[in-house]
């Protein structure tokens, strides 16, 4: 059973990571810095629970806010660059954060042992969950309550004027400005919101793995972050969730029996999925299909 709870945890955290990129992608900006914001959530929250002895919930909120602020600061220089240059710049920034953790050493003695981030060795013994007696099921429930809250908030935003404004900026920046949309506010706001969500994901990740190191937060993770919403489609938040389940649940875990051939098939299946559903797994057609299952009226 623990295997399934473990899988649920991974899917939950990666959904948060994917949603963090989803918000930024809606404004037409491709970001590969999400792993960096994710790592800020992970390291800072772990320091708060392990070194300062905080409860996980305030630690999560504070670390995610910090990740959001840093992301907002990144959003400003990102305003001036677009397209491929932005991709390169955000990779550089993500690596900058990763290398910061690689060099970051801050340990204190606590109950006879030294704890804290230790540069390249990583940050071990993030034991808030076991110390407080949370079972794997408790942790899985905790994660999914948060995922549900974030998804609800984003789903709501999508349907609000704010969501339409994000998409308007993504479609045509010049036209958006010309109807009075403040590009700076929207783009920086999207970056900050994305950073906040990535920070939540990172905070949870640090606590269920109990051991983090800088190598966890490389370009590969950043690539996954944008792959989920792109593969799932930017139509709504469920696309990202479906893509995470597809990749983490079916491709990564489900194909384990294939051994080394798994990675080959993994790539091929993603390419296949994108060819069959070029506008994402959840697009207009699949939404119609699902709606059709639940309504008697078949005229659509």
């Amino acid at each position: 059973m623990d295997f399934f709870f473990g899988l649920l945890q991974i899917i939950g955290v990666h959904t948060l990571l994917g949603l963090s990129a989803y918000v930024v992608l809606q404004t037409g900006q491709v970001t590969l810095a999400q792993a960096g914001f994710f790592s800020i959530g992970a390291y800072v929250s772990a320091m708060l629970t392990v070194l300062a002895g905080w409860h996980i919930i305030p630690a999560l909120l504070v670390s995610a806010s910090l990740a959001g602020i840093v992301a907002g600061i990144v959003g400003f220089p990102a305003l001036r660059i677009k397209g491929l240059m932005l991709v390169v710049a955000t990779i550089a920034f993500g690596e900058f954060i990763r290398l910061f953790w690689f060099n970051f050493d801050y340990q204190i003695a606590k109950e006879g042992i030294t704890v804290g981030p230790q540069g390249g060795e990583g940050f071990k013994q993030i034991r808030f969950f076991p110390e407080n007696g949370w079972s794997t099921l408790d942790v899985a429930i905790f994660i999914w309550v948060i995922v549900a809250l974030v998804m609800l908030a984003l789903w709501w935003t999508d349907r609000s004027r704010a969501g339409a404004v994000l998409r308007a900026v993504g479609e045509d920046e010049l036209a958006a400005q010309s109807v009075g949309i403040n590009l700076t506010a929207v783009k920086v706001g999207a970056f900050a919101a994305g950073g906040f969500i990535a920070g939540i994901g990172g905070a949870i990740y640090a606590h269920y793995t109990t051991h983090i190191e800088h190598l966890n937060f490389g370009v590969m993770l950043a690539t996954f972050a944008i792959a989920y919403p792109i593969l799932g489609g930017l139509r709504n938040v469920f696309g990202t969730l479906v893509a995470v389940i597809f990749i983490q649940g079916i491709l990564v875990e489900g194909l384990r029996f294939m051994g080394d051939w798994r990675n080959l098939l993994f790539g091929a299946l993603i390419v296949l999925a994108m060819n069959i559903q070029p506008r994402g797994l959840i697009d207009e057609r699949s939404v119609k299909l699902v709606r059709g299952l639940f309504t008697r009226d078949t005229r659509n």
Partner: protein, 255 residues
């Protein structure tokens, strides 16, 4: 006091003088035509007023306030809205959403708090959108994606989107381009309706049936300079204008 005043407005793109020492003043409530051969600087002038391209020299004043070099969204907030020569709608948003994002006027901004304005929606903003849809004759298409509209409908939606921001000055960049005669007449009527409601309009246009009929005054640009200004009838008689359109090179004659 003129509602819009350009004082020796100048824009150089490298060595090209796209707009050169242009003086222009538009009175409140008039429909002002801005014409000239292709490449004469009409669209650049609109872009300069709206803050889309940076001003090399000179001054733009709207209602007496200096808006030279202001960011586009600030120009809009001041009360100047525009449409584009090649339609620029948000294609993957619905018709209704295209107008909803544009509900951004100053009074709207003052009347509601942040959360209500952006996240919880307000009845007033929604009603305003419905009203605009009605005026544009697009009420039946509210849930269509803008990209799926017919060409004429897209033009109407773009005009409606500009009006949704409740401007006091409207800059129309070739709104009749690609329209058939019937659609041009409908546009003519719509512009007159707007003028009666107190709107000031600057009309950049090639379609002479529209310009000569609907405008109160016209300025003619050629190579970024103003070569004539006056009543439509006088402009038609003006020799410099005829020279620019017909007597110039073969390319401009066909434009």
């Amino acid at each position: 006091m003129p509602i819009l005043e350009l004082t020796s407005l100048t824009k150089h793109f490298g060595g090209v003088h796209a707009v050169d020492e242009l003086d222009l003043s538009v009175e409140e409530g008039e429909i002002f035509g801005l014409i000239g051969p292709n490449g004469s600087g009409k669209s650049t002038t609109v872009n300069l007023i709206c803050g889309v391209v940076s001003v090399t020299a000179g001054r733009v004043a709207f209602e007496g306030r200096d808006i030279t070099g202001a960011a586009p969204h600030r120009v809009l907030a001041a009360g100047v809205a525009r449409t584009f020569q090649n339609i620029r709608l948000f294609g993957h948003l619905t018709v209704w959403q295209n107008l909803w994002v544009a509900q951004n006027s100053v009074e709207d901004r003052r009347s509601e708090n942040f959360a209500k304005r952006w996240f919880f929606g307000s009845g007033a903003a929604r009603d305003a959108v419905d009203e605009q849809l009605e005026f544009a004759g697009l009420a039946g298409k509210r849930n269509e994606l803008a990209a799926n509209l017919a060409f004429g409908e897209q033009r109407r939606l773009e005009l409606a989107r500009a009006l949704a921001t409740k401007p006091r000055l409207l800059l129309l960049d070739e709104p009749a381009a690609g329209m058939n005669l019937e659609e041009v007449h409908a546009l003519d009527g719509r512009l007159r309706t707007l003028q009666q409601a107190g709107m000031t309009i600057v009309l950049v246009e090639h379609v002479m049936e529209l310009v000569m009929g609907v405008t109160d005054r016209i300025a003619v640009l050629n190579f970024g300079r103003k070569i004539a200004e006056g009543l439509p009838a006088a402009i038609q008689e003006d020799e410099a204008v005829q020279q620019a359109y017909l007597g110039g090179s073969v390319e401009t004659a066909h434009a």
